[in-house]
């Protein structure tokens, strides 16, 4: 063995506790700023269109990730309705604590876009959710919106 001396008793074993104590404030960037302003002011969702690759990115970016074209002048409106591309029923929060009621998270592909949003589904029971289900965004009241992903409360099935 590589060490010639080891702990011989369990009671000798110790550890040292610590943390990385930092806070963060993230700006949402040039494209993010447009995206959230559009939601806050008009309740609309925009994407960025790359004519070269025939792709519409939601959330929008200032660049096309495939061809690196600049997309800042080609933001387009996309629908607030879409399709559940995939989903899951999640039983735990990020800190590992169990949810009282499991949450439903879905990747919603918005109509007219190649991308979409990863968000909660609401007004639906877990067993009713299916891939391919049609859903629409439910926005917060205009004065409650603050420029976060939760300006969209959740997506709900289109009745």
């Amino acid at each position: 063995m590589a060490l010639i001396e080891r702990h011989q008793k369990t009671t000798d074993i110790t550890y040292w506790e610590g943390e990385i104590p930092l806070n963060y404030i993230y700006t949402v960037g040039r494209a993010g700023e447009r995206f959230f302003r559009e939601i806050m002011e008009n309740g609309r969702i925009i994407g960025a269109r790359c004519e070269n690759c025939k792709k519409t990115y939601v959330p929008p970016r200032i660049y096309c990730e495939d061809c690196f074209a600049r997309l800042e002048s080609s933001y387009v409106e996309v629908s607030t309705q879409g399709t559940v591309h995939t989903y899951t029923i999640c039983y735990r929060a990020m800190d590992g604590s169990p949810h009282e009621k499991p949450s439903i998270i879905a990747m919603v592909k918005l109509d007219g876009a190649d991308g979409g949003l990863v968000h909660f589904l609401g007004e639906v029971e877990p067993e009713e959710v299916q891939i391919g289900m049609r859903v629409e965004a439910v926005f917060k009241g205009k004065d409650e919106r603050e420029g976060s992903i939760f300006d969209i409360k959740y997506f709900r099935p289109i009745k």
Partner: protein, 418 residues
């Protein structure tokens, strides 16, 4: 003095001038003389501490020191013979802001060329491989270490890797990403949860015969299906538990490798690739990153029919469905075939294409950035015929694959031959 040691000593006696850094680099003919197109690189020494859920008696330094001692002993070298070192670390997994600071001491690499690759172990291996190929080093060392047990808030750390604007604010256990991916994968390929559960059963069973593995168990499919749900359709047993451990490997260029080692394991092909990290742009069913990485590795190795030419595979199975998804992405079977293949036992040790004979992440434990290290290690042991009870018969070519875990879409592949 044994034959190998004599060779090693002779080599060392020549000193750095013989095989060290770049002499005569400006001399153009030197290029052809010293770097024929057939230059090959081999793994000539591996060392590991084994993998256990906790390692409370050793610090990260001592863990790596132990693995390094074994690797150097196997290769018949001392740290001063090594030209360059690559360590593998991610800051928040080590608990430092600049984790690479703490790499050199325990490798014997003080005041030597060392850097860190915050990627998978196979990325580091590729980096060290390129170092040898470009002539900077004749012998290089790769290190990886996991102290997963020391991270008290592991799920928050993984969650900290998500996009801070669009995904992280949901504040869900990051495993939800795997849940969503599994759902789409099952939907598109027709694979069943039962087939995924079979992966868990197989890998945990394989791990029982692997003395390095920390999470072996004998369970059945129903046990997996009935374990608590974490993120439907993913249950607790579908997720690999984590482990601690360290792996150190010694790489050498052909001539040196032959002089130092009786059983050099040759790197025939290596590839790595990243798909977009933006969840909204993922395709959710296919592991494209693995397919592209594999293509690069196959091309390099001159492999045209992977299923025929690859004898066995160690691939990333952090989640049960990932083994199936990756098996398809490696082009070892068609889309949707991996599930039925597993159910029929073709991926068992005695099957037609053994997959994860070591026990994989599900049986050995999730080692985070060291995952690839465990895979390469077990491929090397198999090819050398040192895999103990899990030894496969007549194997000559093995593939090791790794994925960087959620929420990434980055994979790496290496093909090894004896």
């Amino acid at each position: 003095m044994g034959e190998r040691e004599r060779k090693a000593k002779k080599l060392r006696k020549g000193g750095d001038r013989e095989r060290g850094f770049f002499q005569g680099l400006k001399d153009e003919s030197f290029l052809e003389r010293r770097f024929p197109m057939t230059k090959r690189v081999a793994i000539i020494g591996v060392g590991t501490t084994g993998f256990r859920a906790t390692t409370p008696d050793l610090s990260y330094r001592e863990l790596t020191y132990e693995a390094a001692t074994k690797a150097y002993m196997e290769a018949g070298i001392e740290p001063k013979d090594v030209d360059a070192f690559v360590s593998t670390a991610e800051d928040f997994f080590e608990g430092y802001s600049i984790a690479d600071e703490y790499a050199p001491d325990q490798l014997g690499a003080v005041l030597k060329p060392v850097y860190t690759v915050p990627g998978d172990f196979i990325h580091s291996l590729a980096s060290a491989y390129m170092m040898i190929m470009s002539g900077v080093a004749e012998i290089s060392v790769v290190q990886g270490m996991s102290k997963a047990s020391n991270m008290l808030t592991l799920s928050e750390m993984v969650g900290f890797a998500m996009d801070p604007i669009y995904n992280r604010p949901l504040k869900e256990d990051p495993v939800f990403i795997a849940g969503m991916e599994m759902m789409r994968y099952l939907h598109e390929t027709g694979t069943t949860r039962r087939q995924c559960a079979q992966v868990v059963v197989k890998n945990k069973r394989n791990a029982l015969n692997n003395p390095n593995a920390g999470h072996g168990a004998l369970i059945d499919v129903d046990y997996v299906l009935n374990s608590p749900m974490v993120s439907y359709p993913l249950t607790e047993m579908d997720i690999s538990p984590h482990s601690d451990g360290a792996v150190v490997m010694v790489l050498a260029a052909e001539e040196t490798a032959r002089a130092l080692s009786d059983k050099p394991i040759w790197i025939r092909g290596i590839g790595w690739c990243s798909d977009t990290p933006v969840l909204e742009s993922w395709d959710w069913a296919e592991a494209t990153y693995t397919r592209l990485a594999a293509q690069q590795a196959y091309k390099m190795a001159g492999i045209r029919y992977p299923r025929k030419e690859i004898d066995f595979v160690e691939l990333n199975d952090e989640f049960s469905y990932k083994e199936l998804q990756h098996l398809e992405a490696l082009m070892l079977c068609k889309k949707g075939e991996a599930g039925p293949m597993t159910e029929a036992g073709a991926t068992e040790i005695e099957g037609e294409l053994p997959v994860n004979p070591s026990g994989g992440c599900l049986g050995v434990g999730n080692l985070f950035e060291l995952n690839g290290g465990q895979k390469v290690l077990d491929v090397v042991l198999q090819l050398r015929g040192e895999a103990g009870k899990n030894q496969l018969k007549d194997v000559t070519t093995g593939l090791a694959h790794s994925w960087r875990g959620i929420p990434t879409a980055t994979g790496a592949v290496v093909i090894l031959s004896n």
